[in-house]
Amino acid sequence: MTKSLHIGISIDGAGQHPGAWRDPRARPERLFTAEHTVELARLAERGVLDYVSLDDSFRLRTDRTDHVRGQLDALLTLARVAPQTASIGLVPTVTTTHTEPFHVSKNLATLDFVSLGRAGWLVDVSTTEAEAFHFGRRTVAGPADLYAEAGEAIDVVSQLWDSWEDDAVIRDIGTGRYIDRDKLHVTNFEGKYFSVRGPSITPRSPQGQPIVVVDAVNELALEVGIERADVILIHAASITDAAATRERIRRGLVGVARAPDDVAVLAVIDVQLADTNEAAAAMRAQLDAWGGRLPASALEHIGTSQALADLLEAWAAAGVVDGFHVRPATLPDTLERFVDDVVPVLQQRGVVRTEYVGTTLRDHFGLERPANRYATTRAHGGT
């Protein structure tokens, strides 16, 4: 029997395609409302998917007047979504170049609190001069530095998540102590890019460690993912490609003394769905005419839901990935088709779950709630 595939969905803007907002089924005037994102997250939850992700950056991504410009803070937006969803994982992009690891750590821990254990972190860096000018603190660093800094940020954020043991709050009336301070830990992180003393101001969150996701958009990102991520998104054009990357990740994990099963590998796939191949191609042509072409990606499916289900199942059967990070061309249309037409087929074939079995994002990925690295006893609580 095949392992259940993990599926995450990008719910950015009106969809991945720059022309998507002009689709008659789009509601572009609602893009900056909470309701827009809540509805998409609920739709993904109806499909029993693992998580929704929301991109973020500190810049306008385009100068074009015919593209969507502007975006809300992703983490806060998904915090807004949390009380109106019950199971779906919430994975915002939070960048590491111009942000404070101390804030990043407590903000993600808090997303985990308000979602009762559904937070993840899509790590990204800020590469542009525009972003550097928006902060006015430093010049643009080279990619090697940016990713090395991202790696350090993950380290310190993750240490801060553990800086409170689960049972640190004791409320011991006899001794008058609210906390057992022996269960709080100074992290004293000293890296090349920053030093952070700790502990966090925020207690350990429901998952202990929210899920860390790295999109392996380049070699440096892949390295960061191998060293530190729970989920790595890969860009592979074929099963053979994916197998090679998977092997590369496996060897990398061994090299850094991590177990291959500790990391889920998801293939990124751009998706455009319609009833027939012709209709899908026609819709793509229309979107291209509206907004220009979608940047090329390694893996793309423009066609029917049935064919997409076949493709995903074939990759799953080959055992090269643990699932997919799906980027719908249009929202909500492509996601609706995915949830209503693709997911049921995959469920019938037994390759995706039919209902949530756990409550946390770690549960969805079959990852244990990790013991606290600083705990002297093994008596860590569950969620």
Binding site: W21, R22, P28, E29, F32, A34, V38, S57, F58, R59, L60, D63, T65, D66, H67, R69, G70, Q71, L72, D73, L76, T77, A79, R80, V81, A82, P83, Q84, E100, F102, H103, K106, N107, A109, T110, F113, V114, A130, F133, H134, G136, W164, A168, V169, R171, I173, T175, G176, Y178, I179, R181, L184, S195, V196, R197, G198, I201, T202, P203, W290
Partner: protein
């Protein structure tokens, strides 16, 4: 009865958190971090038609003689994240957070507040505080970089920069006209430039102007610099002056300063701290108050208090000089820090502090 319409007062509710007066030992006292506690209080305040619900901030755990202070409530979630989630389960109540201008940057914080304002349909408020201390700075990249004397310069410049960002988008920038293909007209997004001693930033903001344009601006500083900043830029000022004469003097002083900035007296609302003990009748309320006050001071807490204040008492500073209270934003550094708690129950913390004294009744409701 006069026909003159009565002036209504504004009410804000504060989540009683990291504070030496929060009664955590009461069996009815709930979690300080679970989201359900925040939902309960915010909804209760909304039911009472309060203006806003307020969360304080502290960016380093307090310490006493080099160790984390363990007798008071400690640990809290991030305010903006909690408020964004609360926006989903409330409809009208304002959502206010203390955010530090020393350990944040305008672009990021302006985005976060604009986002909260969008997500809540216009209910965001920001209590801007400053924190000059190196103690808190140890948790951040830059460390303790800010001179104490410059803290209000930094805060003022931060607010000015944030407003430049919020104002860089026209209100109706998002056209989203699928027919013509115009999502945003170029003329609707201005570039911003802010050049000052604290910030030198330029470029394009990336959040559409939010429902309120600017979040409601709160200021809590009580020093001359704090009051001046409030007069210049704030919509609301928290006040620790709850006594009649004290309150009148504060009111007059702050309102007097507004004219300098071309503002009318009503442009700045004064919100003093108040603690309420409620009972079925006066006797019942007094009894409850006494009970709560007893719970606020444990034997260990009293010893720690004396320990911290011993030096100050020996210098006879307590009766004449207001001891700096230990605040959520900074740990006690002077021997006297953290004292003056039980006798100044209804005061805001020191200028630059972040939280009012907690409404004790809320913590045991």
């Amino acid at each position: 009865m006069s026909d003159k319409p009565r002036k209504q007062v504004h009410l804000a509710a504060h989540f009683p958190g990291v504070n030496n007066t929060t009664v955590w030992s009461d069996p009815q006292s709930g979690s300080q971090t679970d989201f359900s506690s925040f939902v309960h209080l915010a909804r209760t305040a909304e039911r009472g038609k309060f203006d806003f619900f307020f969360l304080a901030e502290g960016l380093r755990l307090r310490e006493h003689r080099g160790e984390i202070f363990d007798l008071d409530v400690v640990g809290r979630p991030d305010s903006l994240t909690v408020l964004s989630a609360l926006a989903a389960v409330t409809d009208r109540i304002g959502l206010a957070a203390t955010l530090n201008t020393t350990f944040n940057e305008p672009y990021e914080l302006a985005r976060q507040f604009a986002t909260l304002d969008h997500l809540s349909n216009g209910r965001a408020a920001w209590n801007a505080v400053t924190s000059p201390d190196a103690f808190t700075g140890e948790n951040f990249r830059r460390g303790g970089f800010l001179e104490r004397s410059l803290r209000y310069d930094r805060a003022g410049e931060f607010i000015t920069a944030a407003r430049a960002l919020w104002d860089s988008w026209a209100d109706d920038a998002v056209v989203a006209d699928a027919e013509s293909g115009v999502f945003i007209d170029d003329a609707s997004i201005a570039t911003f430039h802010h050049g000052g001693d604290e910030f030198s930033i330029s470029g394009e903001f990336n959040v559409p102007r939010s429902p309120q344009g600017h979040p409601v601006q709160i200021q809590a500083g009580d020093s001359d610099g704090g009051r001046e900043l409030a007069a210049q830029q704030a919509d609301v000022i928290f006040s620790r002056h709850s006594g009649w004469d004290d309150g009148r003097a504060f009111f007059a002083d702050v309102k007097r300063r507004l004219a300098t900035y071309g503002r009318a007296p009503d442009d700045l609302k004064i919100v003093p701290a108040a603690v309420a003990f409620l009972g079925d009748d006066r006797e019942d309320a007094l009894e409850k108050a006494a009970h709560i006050r007893r719970q606020q001071v444990s034997p260990q807490g009293a010893i720690a208090f004396l320990d911290r204040c011993g030096d100050a008492i020996s210098r006879r500073t307590i009766p004449t000089v207001r001891c700096r209270t230990s605040t959520p934003t900074s740990a006690p550094r002077s021997p006297a820090a953290g004292c003056a708690t039980s006798r100044t129950r209804s005061r805001w913390p020191r200028s630059g502090g972040t939280s009012p004294r907690p409404s004790t009744s809320a913590s045991v409701s």
